[in-house]
Amino acid sequence: MKSNREKLRDLLLEVLLLSDEEFSFDLNREQVETWDSLAVVAIAAGVDETFGYHFTPDEAVGITAVHDIIKVLEREGISFADA
């Protein structure tokens, strides 16, 4: 059973087409060329599918780093303290 951190990591690797080495939970949009506006839509769809939470438009726009995704999901009771 994958942890929530692993699930989120897998999702971002897939959506942003990152290699394992390129990924870190400290990444932000500025550091990832493939993190464009369409990637935000894809991340939102992936989060919905993986964690069952649908970002509000404001939340989606406010996501500029991996930590922002975790913050929103933790506020919804999805724990990332499992790593």
Partner: protein
Amino acid sequence: MANDVVVMQESEIRSNFRVLDTRWRSAETFAILPSNLPVTEEWLDDALHHLPQEFYTKHFLLLTSGSTGQPKLVVANRERAELLAEVIHRLQDGEATRETICCLPLSYSYSFVNQWLWSRILERRLILTDGFMRPGELKVALDAACDAMICMVGAQVPLLRSFFGDRTFPGIIRLHFAGGRFPQEQLDPLRQIFPNAKIFNNYGCAEAMPRLTIRRAEDADVAANIGRPVSGVELKTGEEDQLLFRSPFRAVGFIENSGFRAIADDEWVETGDLGRAADNGMWTLLGRKSEVFKRFGEKISLPAIEAVVQRVWHGELALYRETDSMGENGHIMVVAPHPEKRQLKAIMMELRRDFSRPHWPLRVESLERLPRLPNDKVDALALKERKDVIVHWSQRY
């Protein structure tokens, strides 16, 4: 029979291909159709009734539908086709060849003119095979080849490599490609399989019956370069880079659902491709008209994407268009056989390296084998209907 036009199916010709020779010698116009008729008998009967009387003799008709699925009977003049076969022979330095091995249907204008008609006019031996439908039989023909010429489509290269990748066929001295993207990236493995072959890229379309340009493989380093026009052929670009031609060898007209449509001598005919003049009189293809489109304001070229993927993927590959959930044009990528995880990663990383997200596929799917038309091109219509695909990656919207 309709309107005195003799109709022959591929299977009939294959059971006795001398019948074709007899038909060519007689004055009556005839039609050659694929074995698996992509049209109804009613459609065919109706289409043949549209043929103007002036073409009841000294012409031949080939049915083309290709991956677009729109059937069309192309009406060709025999004398022009014979002249073109001779021109192709000279341009491709064909004098040294003694025979040709067919691995494509004869109802396909490419193999009909470049191989059957060529062998008839130049008095060379013609060896018919069922191509990759019966790879064992094809291998026997390739093993026995003696100063032979073979015509293939680029889509056959993955099949060739999968069946015969570890073999060599020194008896093949000419290898021609047409009918789709030239396999420029696969020249090294092709040269290993056919160590004595001069390789040529042929470009044309059914309305050209069929050749417009030719180039030696070595004369350019990109697949999209189609070389220079054959003597007498003129190319130009029209609106939005549409590639147009005039040719003394072209078909005299074609019959579609709407009836017969003549091609005038001075008419610029659409090839269905987009193109651009390159250096030294050569031309470059930008893609099929239907393969270049806008997505989120960016110009997407499916052939360009295909070229990038083929740097790392040597299996079968097909791209087809689909609209996404936002109503934007997009495309689906299908590979075969099913890729390993590392192969998929390599494909995606190559896409990321060369393209921004709008160019990436909406989905990457796989099948054990791609569905094929009788001429071994990918059957795009059948591909879209397949329910047994495995989805490996998607844009998620």
